[in-house]
């Protein structure tokens, strides 16, 4: 199918400047130009201006527990190897040989001390350092500089509660500072036990013909869609009250494209569903001493259930039966909206759980999460279908020629003036304020990133290419 973009007078650079301006002005009016969801120039700019210069989630430390462990991941459209090296440090490396560029790593995961290139046989250590080449003396007269010819390495790698983020740009604040209020949320979500969370199984991956931003934006604050898009969950009697889910939802907005939805679960389901409904015998083992009073109150009344960290990391923790008719238990799913092409993403979904919980609970939580939000999940299936339409209208000659803009004008109740936590707490999720912030952040990165990418230096020395 044609990836239709409007013929624009001027070069792509001007087009993007103009589009950013239109998105920015549009947000002042609560309107969004449709073309952001599928456009070649937009996609190319996102790769340069967002994915190569922000902290991007790549893996969880529990996926690479031993020295030598690695997993193959993505940053934007690049394949990267996330390794735990012989010195126990985590590295994020571009999966391409420095000699002629062949791919080095050919498995989704494994354990190795070295990566050997299949083309001419250059060898790299698991920290990315150049380590050797065949016929060294005849071909090169001696070893090459191991740092100068190391694999390209992410400039910064940091973890928060085991969630490993990488930045290809040196020019980012430390992860916690960068995450801001979202880090405070991570503490309340993932920091409740000293043993931390662990990934239960490998991520599952599926291609969805929708733009990565549709998923990110949805998880940033769209509880509104649930009563329509997911009505079948209620009609099938799996979750009878699903159409009430958006009325008892609130928003935690940190103003930078990082935002969370909270649900008044004790009100929505039953009093014991504070703390997401973790069974009493397990929550007794949580260590909540690190949390402040606002966090404690939040977990009791309106625990965060869904959220997005800009650009493409989202999570979901919601009580759901593992088998129809069973008592709902919380599951924790991490989702990544991986850009593949304009209007196409790979959806990565995986389930995590607190490591200290017994295997029997892990199994149930995994079941609950996959039945709801896997590629066959009875909720997520319908999201993949409705998001496809957005990518189609974004390439509609009619819509583009008329400058069609989408509606972001829900009535806003405003933030709670007595909120003591970071960012804003909005008692009602209606208002699309988090989505607006998502788009403003997008404009900010697309604008600031333009200046940054103009100054890219040729990569001729360090593995980091800073």
């Amino acid at each position: 199918m044609i990836n239709y973009d409007l013929i624009y007078p001027g070069n792509p650079d001007q087009y993007l400047d103009d589009l950013c301006e239109r998105v920015s002005q549009g947000m002042d009016e609560g309107l969004l130009p449709v073309e952001v969801f599928r456009d070649d120039a937009v996609f190319r700019a996102e790769m340069e201006r967002i994915f190569t210069r922000n902290w991007i989630f790549v893996a969880h430390t529990s996926e690479i527990p031993e020295k030598g462990d690695y997993v193959l991941r993505r940053i934007g459209i690049d394949k990267v190897i996330v390794t735990r090296d012989d010195d126990d440090q985590i590295n994020v490396l571009l999966n391409h040989c420095r000699h002629r560029g062949s791919e080095l790593c050919h498995q989704d995961k494994g354990n190795t001390r070295h990566f050997k290139c299949p083309y001419h046989g250059w060898v790299y250590r698991n920290n990315g350092d150049w380590a050797g080449a065949p016929h060294l003396k005849d071909a090169y007269g001696g070893p090459l500089d191991k740092k100068e010819w190391s694999l390209l390495r992410a400039a910064k790698v940091e973890a928060i509660h085991g969630f490993v983020f990488a930045s290809l740009s040196e020019d980012v604040p430390p992860l916690r500072e960068y995450l801001g209020g979202a880090a405070w949320m991570f503490d309340a979500l993932f920091g409740l036990h000293p043993d931390g969370m662990k990934v239960l199984k490998e991520p599952e991956r599926f291609v969805v013909k929708a733009d990565w931003k549709s998923g990110a934006e949805n998880f940033s604050g769209d509880a509104y869609h649930v009563s329509t898009a997911h009505l079948s969950a209620s009609l099938s009697e799996f979750i009878p009250g699903v159409n009430q889910v958006s009325s008892l939802a609130s928003g935690y907005d940190f103003g930078n494209g990082n935002s969370f939805i909270g649900h008044a679960l004790p009100e929505l389901i039953a009093p014991m569903f504070d703390l997401w409904g973790y069974p009493p015998e397990y929550r007794d083992q949580f260590d909540l001493s690190q949390l402040d009073e606002v966090q404690l109150e939040m977990l009791k009344k309106v625990p965060p259930t869904i959220g997005t960290v800009f650009p493409n990391f989202s999570f979901l923790r919601f009580p759901q039966p593992d088998v129809p008719g069973a008592m709902p238990i919380p599951f924790t799913s991490i989702r990544m909206w991986q850009p593949v092409a304009p209007g196409v993403m790979e959806l990565w979904n995986y389930e995590l759980e607190y490591a200290f919980l017994p295997e029997s609970f892990h199994d149930k939580a995994y079941m609950a999460g996959q039945f709801g939000f896997g590629s066959g999940g009875i909720f997520e299936q319908d999201d993949t279908a409705v998001w496809e339409g957005i990518a189609k209208v974004a390439a509609s000659p009619w819509a583009l020629s008329k400058g069609m803009r989408l509606h972001y004008q829900q009535k806003r109740g405003g933030p709670d003036p007595d909120w003591k936590g970071p960012g804003e707490f909005h008692p009602s999720i209606y208002g699309e304020y988090s989505q607006e912030r998502f788009w403003r952040r997008w404009v900010k990165e697309m604008t600031e990133g333009k200046r940054a990418s103009k100054h890219a230096e040729p990569c001729d020395d360090q593995g980091g290419c800073q």
Partner: protein
């Protein structure tokens, strides 16, 4: 128990009829073919050099018991299961059927290959979902019942946006 070659013929016939039933979206008829103990498993696959490592133990896209499948069918019948509105038009081609006896006198193992062609929506090109099935069929007086299905999808990265269809 009948001779294995007779069972082979019957099993192949069962799979062909089952495929037609699913293509014609007669989900309740299909449901009646499921044993109460049905274990319907769609494992996650990853790219590995050793075949044995391609299916990480316990990792699945779907692992349904009968109650899960009942919910899926009720969902499809609700007319609000948007992933399947309009329902995919499908063709399941089943072949390479192999039948073996198991330790249980009333259960046979049936391995087959199945190509599922799925056209979603209105005019989009269809998706192809290639699957190797490892089934257990229970042999009863009134025919076979599907006791276990392990559907190994060929893709590591699934090339259809959801598993709104039965494999």
């Amino acid at each position: 128990m009948k001779k294995i070659h007779e069972l082979h013929e019957h099993a192949a016939d069962f799979l062909a009829r089952e495929a037609l039933m699913l293509d014609e979206r007669r989900f309740r008829d299909w449901f009646a073919l499921l044993d109460d103990e049905i274990d319907y498993d769609v494992p996650i696959r990853i790219a590995m050099r050793n075949y044995a490592e391609e299916f990480p133990p316990g990792a699945f896209r779907i692992k349904d018991c009968k109650a899960h499948i009942q919910t899926r069918i009720a969902r499809l019948e609700s007319d609000h299961a948007w992933a399947e509105v309009p329902p995919s038009r499908t063709l399941r081609v089943v072949g390479s059927v192999m039948v073996d006896a198991t330790e249980r006198a009333d259960v046979i193992e049936v391995v087959s290959a199945m190509i599922l062609y799925r056209q979603r929506g209105h005019d989009d090109p269809g998706d192809v979902i290639p699957v190797r099935r490892h089934d257990l069929l229970r042999v009863s007086e009134d025919g076979f019942r599907l006791l276990k299905r392990k559907a190994l999808i060929t893709h590591a990265v699934l090339q259809t946006p959801n598993l709104g269809v039965f494999l």
